[in-house]
Subunit: 437 residues, 2 copies
Amino acid sequence: MTSQDIEPEQDIAPRQDALSAETQTALERAEASHRHEALFSERAHNIKQSAVRDVFDISIRPGLISLAGGSPSLSELPLDVVAATASRVIAKHGMEALHYGGGKGTPELRELVCEIMAEEGILGASPEDVVVTTGSQSAQDIAAKVFCNPGDVVLVEDPTYVGALNTFEAYQVQVEPVLMDENGLIPEQLEARITELEAAGKRIKLLYTIPSFNNPSGVTLAAERRQRVVDICSAHNILILEDNPYGMLRFDGHPLTPLRADNPDDVVYCGSFSKIFSPGVRLGWALVPKHLYRRFYLAAEAVVLCPSMLTQMLVTEFFRTFDWRSYLAESRRVYAERCTAMLESLAEEFPAETVWTTPSGGFFVWVTLPAGIDTYPLLYQAIEAGVVFIPGAAFTPWDGRSSKLRLAFSGVAPERIREGVRRLGPVIRAAVEANAG
Amino acid sequence: MTSQDIEPEQDIAPRQDALSAETQTALERAEASHRHEALFSERAHNIKQSAVRDVFDISIRPGLISLAGGSPSLSELPLDVVAATASRVIAKHGMEALHYGGGKGTPELRELVCEIMAEEGILGASPEDVVVTTGSQSAQDIAAKVFCNPGDVVLVEDPTYVGALNTFEAYQVQVEPVLMDENGLIPEQLEARITELEAAGKRIKLLYTIPSFNNPSGVTLAAERRQRVVDICSAHNILILEDNPYGMLRFDGHPLTPLRADNPDDVVYCGSFSKIFSPGVRLGWALVPKHLYRRFYLAAEAVVLCPSMLTQMLVTEFFRTFDWRSYLAESRRVYAERCTAMLESLAEEFPAETVWTTPSGGFFVWVTLPAGIDTYPLLYQAIEAGVVFIPGAAFTPWDGRSSKLRLAFSGVAPERIREGVRRLGPVIRAAVEANAG
């Protein structure tokens, strides 16, 4: 495979421009030239267009195989049942479902959330400690709002969820990544980083972690490290923000015990209906330590008044009348199959110089190319080849180069995954060859 | 009427406690005593339980007539049609409706929003300048986030919407009320206040205004004052945040032209589906000047990723297939009738020493009692009498006493409004007599 197989980059760049960068630049010009520019808050300058958003815009092009977005597979959802459930909720309880609700979410949904968390290993959680949020993104926004002054430090895994980075940066937080290995966060690295930052006079407020099937790496924090991570944070009075949207999607069907389970005082736990049911309902939740609950939910109210009653009641009714445990078992089977398809085709198509993670659940595989390769420019070549991924740089607080990339297997059928990796193979091989040469 | 008609206050207080204050106090104690207390951000200390929330909790008691919450009347909504629409959207377009969407909202809903705004007098707005938000509360949160540093000033009407006060205070904004008369904001007062604040070195970022049927006062900014208000703000480089949830609900059917109409560069306009369709879908929007759009929508994404696709598609399909103009005409008739019921019973039941506004649209009547009376303690007496209102103090940034109160006629049938005012009459008369004596 030679570089002639790849379209010249100048043909690609304008197409990308046409999709978002051109409008982007025009808007930036307009905002800089206006007398209102002085009105922006300091934090507004920290709010950036994410590389992921660019890619989402591009992914809409027909024919392209997107291994970019972490989209759940909805094809196993019985749409007729969901439709009938929505219809029933509105016809029977419309005066409630179409109305305002309480800021904490409905008692019925908070009860359901506690049952779901019990399946994950969080036993005895009280609905009184749950705040239903507009997706778990909103829970992260609220956590940042309630806990972080500008300049405060939030520790994150390296790499971590790009949406959380955007949220923290919007609050002018200093985000500090902590190294992971194949068993997740390295406790010694965590402790060393904390000591270092404290010595520099930094105020560390939160550890934001996705311990199970990390986004983007797919890596899981080993069971034997979990309590150690909590203890280190606790000793330094650092609160843990545990983001566990994929917890129920461990391929073998046995969720790993969340950090929150044995540590009710030290962990704000975030869950989501986006991966186990539907992102379109925009519902997540936070399980909040009692001593932090009041301000958390008041802040939630100040942001959205209340979550949607309609989608809350739809989700509650659906989970109460549908065999969601069997549905999740089927989802796990589907994701495991897709993951296998991706791992197998990576082994076939990617050169020996590349390595990747082997997730035991979740949505993502994380690929590492040889040092010296920047995956961002490769994205344009991949688009030309008909496939999209997300460059690794998106998942760290730095804007620098990254030799990593994220591939999502969750939302694409196995044969399309194989085709997508097949399209990507030549791009990667050429980059590896050019880098070696 | 003597004070014997009112239950003794000691019987009331514990009941109020049992509903929320007791839990509240326990939570406050727990948070203050925990080592995590040091983790709260500075802004978290500005996030408070609102008096309105207390009242909402109380309102749930059976038999009580609530003139407190600004709830839309949903009884004219054809629930069967809404149910069938939701069912159709999910059955036919479920893979899209149950999925993630773009951060700006769907193009179809943004198109619809522009048509609705055109009916209000905002002509030629582009869907490209609209951000769909999770209720218009979320638009206010985003505006505060994007424009306000701690200590910046936001001007508001006196009185103003309590939810906006909560939002601004959560960003440590200095909220400065400007006096209104029966024709809304007084331009001379606005200009004087700006001059005063600027002389004190304050940075004024926004004027937050509800020009039509202000919440809580029901007062409308006169047509001849509107451009003057914009010009004053523009001259001082102050952006206007125009909140217009009730604009389409002018009783005579002719919306007043919003400030935004002729001033596309100087106004961020907020609209909502909560009053014209359903609060349960949690959908509002912001029409943002081009030069401010990019940061506004990026901030929106950082808060919730995207608004609910399901409720967006439901609203779009409902408005596209249902005769919403006739429905709104019917809504206006219902609200006008309720307003009349309230004004008539106030005239019958309230003493001559009290005055109230005569709204030409919206949800609220604002009652002023003689100076010296504090309406907050009267609330407990009203609850004993079986009716709830919101004390005026909730609608200013001060915690002080207020001789005003807000009565909402929107969500209650005329005969219940009359009964509610009948129950409230003796409480008010006794207070006026005691104050005079």
